[in-house]
């Protein structure tokens, strides 16, 4: 039997939202933007069905068997991530992406930043699938 303290338990939960974006950097010329981002630079934007995977860790409460109550996690993610992003234009309706290019790398970092405020467990990582073929992960910057 392994002592509980020797093991690390994480809880993973997947959520979905759909949003549009356009990859365009103000620091690049139009020609450079077109070259680097290709069809993702289309001026009218395009969209994806995103899947977000949130992983949290912490002690498993012996009374509930849970790291964090799923209802609390779901409510927090709904409020902080799904409602502000779902069926929105990331470029036009999410403050962070008025400056940053809404690549899925940056989307991971933005969702991580929001999820760090979840009070009931430690955020381990955010993984986002932009399509079923492309996924991105961010677990915080260890140097910080």
């Amino acid at each position: 039997m392994t002592a509980a303290s020797d093991l690390k338990i994480e809880l993973g939960r997947r959520y979905r939202f759909a949003a549009s974006h356009r990859l365009h950097s103000a620091q690049l010329t139009d020609a450079e933007n077109a070259r680097i981002y290709g069809k993702c630079n289309n001026p009218c934007g395009h969209g994806h069905n995103y899947t977000v995977e949130i992983s949290v860790s912490g002690d498993v409460d012996p009374a509930t068997g849970m790291i964090a109550n799923l209802a609390d996690l779901d409510e927090f993610v709904q409020r902080e991530v799904i409602e502000p992003f779902d069926h929105r234009s990331l470029n036009d309706e999410v403050e962070a992406f008025r400056v940053e290019v809404p690549t899925t790398e940056n989307l991971c970092i933005e969702i991580y930043r929001r999820m760090r405020a979840f009070p009931n467990a430690k955020l381990e990582r955010v993984r986002v699938e932009e399509t079923s073929n492309n996924s991105f992960e961010y677990a915080g910057d260890k140097a910080q």
């Binding site: 039997m1 392994t2 509980a4 303290s5 020797d6 093991l7 690390k8 338990i9 994480e10 809880l11 993973g12 939960r13 997947r14 959520y15 992983s55 498993v60 012996p62 009374a63 509930t64 068997g65 849970m66 790291i67 109550n69 799923l70 209802a71 381990e124 990582r125 677990a139």
Partner: protein, 144 residues
């Protein structure tokens, strides 16, 4: 180091109820998972073993051995069972994904004949899972 993952599926029923709490509290904390008649899931278990490939066989662990161990330790104990009543290792614990993953870790770890157990990931549904690692060997740990 190479990681090898074997996936199996089993079906089981469970109920979340803590006898130390009032009926009302149980309903509040566990929601529909507190339904007195229980409910069930199709669980997917991913077991990951880490190690160096054997120079003779090229294997981290013999999959035939691993399959036998999973059959013996997990399928026979949990498949088509009620986790609250039929799995002694879970006695006195709420059979959440976190707790079931930890029990499976404790059952498997001493049996792995080659390499070492790296991760147990248990999906209760495609959108909810628990990961179990040895402390310090997780995806963000130094040994990973």
């Amino acid at each position: 180091m190479v990681l090898l993952t074997r996936k199996i599926e089993f079906s089981a029923s469970h109920r979340y109820n803590n006898p130390a709490m009032s009926e009302e509290e149980n309903r509040r904390v566990f929601g529909k998972c507190n339904n007195p008649h229980g409910h069930g899931h199709n669980y997917t278990l991913e077991v990951t073993v880490a190690g160096e490939p054997d120079p003779v066989t090229g294997m981290v662990v013999d999959l035939a051995d691993l399959k036998k161990i999973l059959e013996q330790e997990v399928m026979r104990r949990m498949d088509h069972r009620h986790l609250n009543f039929e799995v002694p290792e879970l006695a006195g614990q709420i059979p959440t994904c976190e707790n079931v993953a930890r029990v499976i870790w404790n059952l498997l770890e001493p049996k792995i004949p080659q390499g070492r157990l790296h991760r147990v990931r248990l999906y209760e549904s495609p959108d909810l899972f628990a990961d179990c690692y040895r402390n310090g060997c997780g995806p963000n740990g130094s040994a990973a």
